[in-house]
């Protein structure tokens, strides 16, 4: 059996109070390359906390998190930043695009930090935009795009560095049903390329498209398949 890409073991995350809040309580999760995992739960259940830990934006209070077999708890801040740049892609509900930069510049931005070969950056950004169907919008500013197009720019930005793990936090939360379906199809294509996708949603229709579903309630996880 190959080394899991993501391995959470009895992860607890507490926020000191008062009152102290335990957002995650003994979560364990294993994700392999090419897995498509949806994490479903109501607001405040701990979904985002879990995603932050998986994205190395936060640390567990108790338990261990291994990424590609490496314990992440002992990594210093700079190394965690480098791992994020090279191994992890993020897609956010609010897109988080730079409003005064063109679509192409937005997609090129992660490559500043990932160490992508300098001469290849623009070509790779163009390819990523072609892949999400926005090759004709590269010079546009994000504000001139529709919600679905903006989210596709965000997806292009997330995958342009060829990460092994893509984390999506409510990626369809601001989109209508048809646009959501387009974006989900795009995600599924990426998964077939071997990318591991973990998507947080409270949209059951989105969650059902995943190969593995994890429900979180009150900080505790339950796997459905």
């Amino acid at each position: 059996m190959s080394t899991p890409l993501v391995e959470l073991r009895d992860v607890t995350r507490s926020f000191p109070g008062p009152p102290e809040v335990q957002a995650l309580k003994g979560i364990s999760l294993t994700v392999h390359d090419g897995d498509y995992v949806s994490i479903v739960g109501p607001s405040g259940s701990g979904k985002s906390t879990m995603l932050n830990i998986l994205g190395l934006l936060d640390r567990p209070s108790v338990g261990e998190y291994r990424l590609a077999g490496h314990l992440t708890g002992a990594l210093d801040e700079d190394t965690r930043a480098a791992v994020r740049a090279q191994r992890i892609g993020f897609v956010f509900q609010a897109f988080h695009l730079m409003p005064r930069r063109s679509v192409l510049e937005n997609v090129m931005m992660p490559m500043l930090y990932s160490g992508t070969v300098r001469g290849e950056r623009e070509d790779r950004a163009r390819q990523a935009l072609e892949r999400v169907g926005l090759g004709h919008r590269i010079g546009f500013l994000p504000g001139t795009l529709s919600g679905g197009e903006r989210q596709r720019v965000a997806v292009a930005r997330a995958v342009v560095t060829r990460p092994s793990l893509l984390l999506a936090d409510e990626p369809t939360g601001n989109l209508d049903a048809a646009t959501s379906a387009d974006v989900m199809e795009l995600f599924e294509e990426l998964v077939t390329d071997g990318l591991a996708l973990i998507i947080i949603t409270h949209d059951q229709a989105v969650a059902r498209r995943a190969s593995h579903r994890v429900g979180i309630t009150d900080g505790r996880a339950r796997t459905y398949g």
Binding site: T3, S48, N52, G55, L57, D58, R66, L67, A68, G69, H70, L71, T72, A74, L75, D76, E77, D78, T79, A81, A82, V83, R84, A85, Q86, R87, F90, F92, A94, H96, M98, R100, R101, E105, M109, P110, L112, Y113, S114, G115, T116, V117, R118
Partner: protein
């Protein structure tokens, strides 16, 4: 233990090697980070591009941000420029006369009786020697002719009933003395080198003496009698601000004085010089006149600006510099405020960059660089404004604008320093923003 965290190179975006993480999976786990050549890491060029990309997107805010620095640096550069310009101007106005005269005399010592005696004499060709020096405009010999119990009269008759009075002083001079002293000819003319060489008995009179002697015109060829020797009065001079005693004196040529009164030494050299040449000529003249014994010559030369002028100027400068620094501080606070506002506005961007792999140091450097560029831009515009202000006001006052180039360059760099200082705190604040919180805020 094998390090599978990364190959033996620093991670992307950092200049440091990562710490080795405990790896309990052994050699089965793949490397977490791939090799990044130095050429592909976040470079200074990347930093400059990131720091300047958004600068011009809000021109109004940019201008407001720069206004304080432009005013501060502009005021500072203009103050220093005005100080330098008015320094030249004050020299002209405070010392217009004193600054243009130099006198070379034989050095004096006191003898056993307490009287001053000369230690030597100047050469007869002293004028020619001095006029070779740069900065000398006109030089002339001048020496008082001793006239013990002598008489000076406008008529040859000795009137025993006339009241006794001291005779006027007689000076022997080379041609060019009146010009050297910036005097003017009231009427008639001055004697020239030809009169001097021919030892002609010609005299020019100070205007007060001429009045006392009743000589009001020279076209009737009046004469005066010095110890009974007739001298033709060829002219009358006035406006003798440098040596007003000459207005009551007779000036005859050196040649005639040597012939008629046994003048044995040329006396002093009086010279008119260009403004500002005093200190330099003070050092050169003694050597030119007595190369073998420069100490035997005493030079009285202007040493630059008067203490009064210096004092007035320094007071004015101090006030302006204080005002400029206050304005500059206000400019710095302005940049700090706008940078802080920018940090707060761009919390989402900071969170995004951190999520995309930017380190805290890269975030801090970007904000500091933006601030330094703002300061530099403000400094450049301010220095330009200051220089133009000096030029404009100087032109309107018909002054000569004077500003050292380093003042303008220094002003621009000072703007960058203000930007650096103003951006440091907001940049530190930016590094403390946690990406989780920043991204949640949208």
């Amino acid at each position: 233990m094998t390090n599978h965290l990364a190959s033996d190179v620093p991670p992307a975006g950092t200049g440091d090697a990562p710490d080795v993480a405990p790896d309990q999976l052994g050699s089965k786990s793949p490397d977490l980070l791939h090799t990044v050549p130095a050429t592909d890491r976040f470079s200074f060029t990347d930093l400059l591009i990131e720091a300047t990309s958004d600068l011009g997107t809000r021109p109004g805010r940019l201008l407001m941000t720069l206004a304080g620095t432009i005013l501060g640096i502009g005021a500072l550069v203009a103050t220093i420029g005005f100080a330098q310009t008015t320094a030249g101007q004050l020299s002209k106005q405070f010392n217009a006369f004193a600054a243009t005269q130099i006198v070379a005399s034989p050095a004096q010592i006191r003898n056993a009786e307490g009287n001053s005696v000369s230690t030597g004499t100047l050469p007869w060709d002293a004028v020619q020697r001095m006029e070779r020096l740069a900065g000398i405009e006109q030089a002339a010999l001048i020496n008082e002719v001793p006239l013990q119990d002598g008489t000076v009269a406008a008529v040859p008759v000795n009137d025993p009933s006339a009241p006794t009075s001291a005779p006027p002083r007689i000076f022997a001079a080379s041609a060019g003395l009146i010009d050297a002293l910036e005097g003017t000819v009231r009427y008639g003319r001055l004697f020239d080198e030809g009169h001097d060489q021919r030892q002609d008995r010609v005299a020019v009179l100070g205007e007060r003496l001429a009045g006392n002697l009743g000589i009001t015109r020279v076209d009737s060829q009046p004469s005066i009698f010095i110890n009974g020797i007739p001298y033709a009065v060829v002219g009358v001079f006035g406006d003798m601000q440098q040596r007003s005693e000459l207005l009551d004196s007779v000036v005859i040529s050196t040649g005639a004085a040597r012939n008629d009164f046994n003048l044995t030494t040329p006396g002093d050299v009086q010279a008119r010089i260009v403004i500002g040449a005093g200190p330099q000529l003070a050092a050169q003249t003694a050597l030119a006149l007595a190369p073998d014994a420069p100490d035997s010559v005493t030079i009285a030369a202007p040493q630059g600006r008067s203490n009064l002028a210096e004092s007035v100027q320094s007071d004015v400068n101090l006030i302006f510099v204080i005002l400029s620094v206050v304005v500059l501080l206000a400019g710095g606070v302005g940049i700090a405020n706008v940078t802080m506002l920018s940090v707060m506005e761009r919390t989402g961007e900071i969170g995004l960059r951190r999520a995309l792999g930017a380190t805290r140091r890269q975030i801090a450097t970007q904000f500091v660089t933006e601030s330094v560029i703002l300061g530099l831009l403000g400094g450049l515009l301010g220095a330009t404004t200051g220089v133009f202000a000096v030029i404009a006001i100087s032109l309107s006052q018909q002054w000569t604008p004077v500003t050292h180039p380093l003042v303008a360059i220094g002003g621009a760099l000072l703007g960058a320093v203000v930007g650096l200082a103003a951006g440091s705190f907001p940049a530190r604040k930016a590094t403390r923003i946690e990406p989780v919180a920043a991204l949640r805020g949208g």
